[in-house]
């Protein structure tokens, strides 16, 4: 089966939903349910026929369906599913800030809010498979442009608009850097496909400065997408202003897809014998160290949960970059690309859990400040427990998924003898204990004002259960993910 069929199917589904939206007279929630069903079918297809995927010869130049690609496709589908489920919880807020006074019905905008994530999903799935500069660029733009709309979706909220403008301007800047870098790389090597570039880099004769310049620009462009320091400045404001489901999508889906591309690009640049390999690793180490430090230290002072998660997302990008920088270590018997994939797989459930709780809370009138979450653990013990597990996992406590990811990164850094980055990672993780535990403490302390119990829909409860189970199962039985990844390598 051609793996592109899944992407095409989802794209067509998105278009149909967009088309159905203006014609539909019944509740817009139907569209969301159709999208969920479609995504489930896609996920099922991916799982059942993952082994038998074959790329037609005409596409092999720019499209690859190896285990890593299939894994990131799965991540893309699951995060889109989660985003749509969270959107259903968030619908009242969305409606409040989208519908005008004379809007038809109470569900204005919900239809588009379902179909746009599908387009993002298609983009991320293609990114997972892209191994050609053009494909990378086009799929990345599909994702980014859809996000421009989604981030500023709540057009009557000044915060959302501000976020939209910031994201648009910095996104455009990063795209510019990326394309400029690609132009340099293409101009020097004459190759568009990553395989070709790799060969050219290995056989390069002469000065490698221009190559390095191009590579650095490409890394900078991608650095924006994964929120690496110093390209992280857009993150806090955009995360805070965007609709909460979209913030979750940005911090998981967009980051995962960005790292899928980054993995392939870095592996190309640092291939054995590449003339710029060592310098690129140095660059990555600098990025990683700065990202870990800035992300974690800035998170300490945050009082808004959404902003805190924004900085935490930066910090996690740092660990991921550190794993990528250990691209040449082999002692661990896990390839760095798999450490990155593993880390992202663990990062997905814990982040979505936090955002699910945030969305439900916001929809029921509770704010996003840490203060307003006080007493959550007493009022709804299950929700409190789920959030505690998610935060403990983000902090990297053992027996949760988050620890396994961090452990692999720390081990890889130890074996690669990157002691400075190792020290920074340890400082960062210790800081993480502080600000994640601060949230745990908040949800168990007594509230100043009585607030309502937070209610969740059945779908959200299912999602909650699945994600909590995933955190613990991966934390206790990491082979579960490892099997998927190793199978993909073969």
């Amino acid at each position: 089966m051609n793996p592109l069929n899944i992407e095409l199917g989802l794209g067509v589904l998105g278009l149909l939903l967009l088309l159905a939206e203006p014609f539909l007279s019944s509740s817009r929630k139907v569209l969301a349910y159709v999208a969920i069903a479609g995504l489930l079918v896609a996920l099922l297809t991916l799982i059942t026929s993952g082994g038998s995927m074959s790329v037609p010869a005409t596409m092999q130049e720019f499209y690859i369906a190896d285990a890593l690609a299939l894994f990131y496709k799965g991540v893309a589908i699951i995060s889109t599913l989660a985003v749509i489920i969270i959107s259903l919880e968030y619908a009242p807020v969305l409606n409040k800030f989208v519908a005008g006074d004379n809007a038809r019905g109470k569900e204005a905008g919900l239809g588009e809010f379902v179909s746009l994530p599908l387009f993002v999903c298609v983009g991320m799935m293609v990114m997972a498979s892209a191994k050609d500069l053009i494909t990378i660029f086009v799929s990345l733009e599909l994702v980014t442009v859809s996000f421009y709309v989604l981030v500023s979706f709540m057009r009557r909220s000044a915060m959302s608009l501000e976020a939209g403008v910031k994201y648009l301007i910095l996104g455009a800047l990063s795209t510019g850097l990326l394309v400029y870098g690609m132009a340099w790389v293409y101009g020097l090597t004459g190759q568009m496909s990553l395989d070709g570039i790799q060969k050219a880099l290995v056989n390069w004769k002469g000065d490698n400065t221009p190559l390095l310049f191009g590579a650095a620009l490409v890394l900078a462009g991608l650095g924006f997408k994964v929120a690496a320091v110093p390209f992280q400045i857009w993150v806090p404001d955009v995360y805070q202003g965007a609709p909460t489901p979209i913030t979750a999508f940005l911090s998981v889906g967009s980051k995962a897809a960005g790292f899928a591309v980054l993995t392939r690009v870095v592996e190309t640049f640092t291939a054995k014998g590449s003339v710029i390999g060592d310098q690129v690793i140095q660059l990555l180490l600098i990025l990683a160290g700065a990202t870990i430090l800035v992300g974690n230290l800035s998170a300490i002072a945050q009082t808004n949960f959404k902003r805190l998660l924004g900085y935490s997302s930066i910090a996690h990008a740092g660990y991921l970059l550190l794993a990528l920088a250990c691209v040449h270590q082999h002692s661990l018997a896990i390839a760095p690309r798999n450490i990155v994939a593993f880390y992202l797989a663990t990062y997905l459930p814990m982040t979505f859990l936090c955002f699910l709780v945030l969305s439900a809370a916001k929809a029921q009138g509770v704010g996003e400040d840490l203060k307003s979450l006080k007493g959550l653990g007493h009022k709804s013990p299950l929700l409190g427990l789920a959030l505690t597990i998610a935060l403990a996992s983000l902090a990297g406590l053992p027996l949760t998924a988050g620890f396994m990811g961090k452990m692999f990164v720390i081990f890889a850094a130890t074996y690669e003898s990157n002691y400075l980055c190792l020290a920074l990672a340890i400082i960062g993780a210790a800081t993480g204990f502080y600000y994640y535990f601060k949230v745990i403490l908040t949800i168990y302390s007594t509230p100043e004002v009585e607030t309502e119990k937070i209610r969740l829909s059945v779908l959200s409860k299912v999602m909650l259960g699945v994600f909590v189970a995933a955190i613990i199962v991966i934390g206790v039985y990491p082979d579960a993910i490892q099997h998927v990844l190793v199978a993909a390598v073969k």
Partner: protein, 492 residues
């Protein structure tokens, strides 16, 4: 399924049940007693059947293929002794918790499960992980229900233990790297081989050992990384103080004996490491000891004394011979029992009297003779009076440092340290006896009302003091199994 897996899982399941609404005290108490019964049975069975001190009751489930991590449990004399300590203290801690929120019971059970898991795992991944499991409940309870400067104390313990654990993790990464069989990284203790570094590679072993010493040491409040312990214990509610100072803190020492000493044989005798360790433990005994004398509140005094006594156990480890390590393990057990009994009494006094300041207390023995007797036993045990459990351990440790003493060469640094440490015994006698006198004797302070606890509340106190007496009079009950296992893991 190994019985060890059952005793680790039971408290976790019970904690979940309590959290979701099961009757809190009944469930917790039942599970703690069942666990105590199982562990005691296993202990008796083991000391009868396994004179060789090898691992028993083993079971393993692979959770990660490369590098090899498995959920593996197994017990020898060393871990059974620690498990016995855990279950005894848990039962006492849960028993003395009455009419509290569910979260108290959940936390106690989780800490107990974490400690049991750490002591009974034979895979260093889970050994490490279970210890961390106990960190969240400790932090939460201190931060939410602690006394005094609870938030500060909670943050201090969390950050210190967090950083300590991460340093430890880096050390463990080194262990896995250096000690794994060729070509296959593994976390399985049974497969990790002692590190023998040739010439240039030897320093890897010493540095890795030192990292482990710092990591584990922070968890045991080794001077100068001890400042988290006193405020945390002084602030913590009774069951948490009992469980953490009595049981969980011993994890660091257990880890040193189980992982660091056997896998890096001889590293402890490296001059700079031994000297550093001796200086640090002298800090525990003398510096913290002097600080303890100056405390004016019972909770601060107990908290500091708990830090101080860790110095003796480290001295046993620093001696590097089997005798000292036997003594250290025995003292770990005895200290766990005595300090938790003291914290139990501390909690009772706080509830009844409302103040713990020595200046406001006095003459309590008149109205509460039972309390005063029990406190006496615990305080004497803590000082190291003969006939009580701590004595045997301390004597073994002091003797071990004089092993191979050569009159012609004079004292080595180890022996000088021992001589200085003996002053620590005097220091503890000073502060403990003074506390005892100020609280229970002298002129009764006005406005204090105190009575002996009810019969049901006397049970845990009676039980803990009985353990102190029995082990004190017959230390061979424990020493037999400890010794064979210490030999079996290769410490001579």
């Amino acid at each position: 399924m190994s019985p060890l897996e059952i005793i680790i899982l039971l408290p976790i399941l019970a904690a979940l049940a309590v959290w979701l609404g099961a009757p809190s005290r009944g469930t917790s108490l039942a599970i703690s007693l069942v666990n105590l019964a199982i562990v005691a049975t296993l202990f008796v069975q083991y000391s009868g059947q396994h004179v060789d001190g090898k691992m028993a009751y083993q079971a393993a489930h692979t959770v990660l293929t490369t590098p090899h991590i498995q959920f593996a449990v197994g017990a020898d004399g060393l871990s059974l002794t620690m498990a016995l300590l855990t279950t005894i203290v848990t039962a006492a801690a849960v028993w003395c918790t009455v009419d509290k929120e569910r979260i108290y019971y959940t936390a106690s059970l989780l800490i107990s499960a974490g400690a049991l898991g750490a002591f009974l795992s034979t895979d260093i991944f889970f050994l490490y992980a279970f210890h961390e499991l106990a960190l969240i409940p400790t932090f939460l309870i201190i931060a939410l229900y602690g006394h005094g400067e609870k938030k500060e104390a909670a943050w201090k313990i969390t950050l210190y233990l967090g950083v300590g654990s991460l340093i430890l993790l880096a050390g463990l990464a080194g262990v896995v790297w250096l000690c794994s069989p060729k070509g296959a990284l593994t976390f399985d203790l049974a497969q990790l081989k002692p590190f023998v570094g040739k010439d240039n590679a030897a320093w890897w072993g010493t540095y890795c050992f030192f990292t482990l010493l710092l990591g584990f040491g922070t968890l045991v409040s080794l001077f100068p990384f001890h400042s988290w312990a006193a405020p945390a214990y002084a602030s913590a509610p009774t069951p948490i103080a009992m469980l953490h100072s009595g049981v969980l803190k011993k994890f660091g020492l257990y880890g040193l004996i189980r992982i660091a000493l056997p896998l890096f044989p001889g590293a402890i005798h490296t001059p700079w490491i031994q000297q550093a360790l001796l200086l640090m433990l002298l800090g525990n005994i003398l510096v913290v000891g002097l600080i303890t004398i100056h405390q004016r509140r019972l909770d601060d005094l107990l908290a500091n004394s708990s830090v101080m006594h860790m110095g003796y156990i480290f001295l046993g480890l620093a001696s590097g011979n089997a005798l000292g390590i036997n003594g250290a393990v025995l003292l770990m057990f005895a200290h766990g029992i005595s300090i938790s009994l003291l914290f139990l009494l501390n909690g009772k006094l706080r509830n009844q009297v409302g103040t713990l300041e020595f200046d406001k207390l006095g003459g309590l023995a008149t109205n509460a003779p039972f309390l005063s007797i029990i406190f006496g036993i615990a305080a004497f045990a803590s000082i190291g009076l003969p006939g009580l459990a701590n004595f045997a351990g301390e004597v073994l440790i002091f003797l071990s440092t004089f092993q191979g003493f050569d009159v012609t060469k004079g004292f080595t640094m180890l022996q000088i340290t021992t001589i200085l440490s003996l002053w620590g015994v005097v220091i503890s006698a000073v502060y403990m006896l003074r506390a005892y006198r100020k609280i229970f004797f002298g002129a009764p302070a006005s406005g204090l009302f105190v009575s002996d606890p009810t019969l049901s509340q006397r049970v845990p106190m009676f039980f803990l003091s009985a353990v102190l007496l029995i082990v004190g009079c017959q230390p061979s009950l424990l020493l037999n199994v400890i010794q064979s296992s210490i030999t079996a893991i290769g410490l001579k």
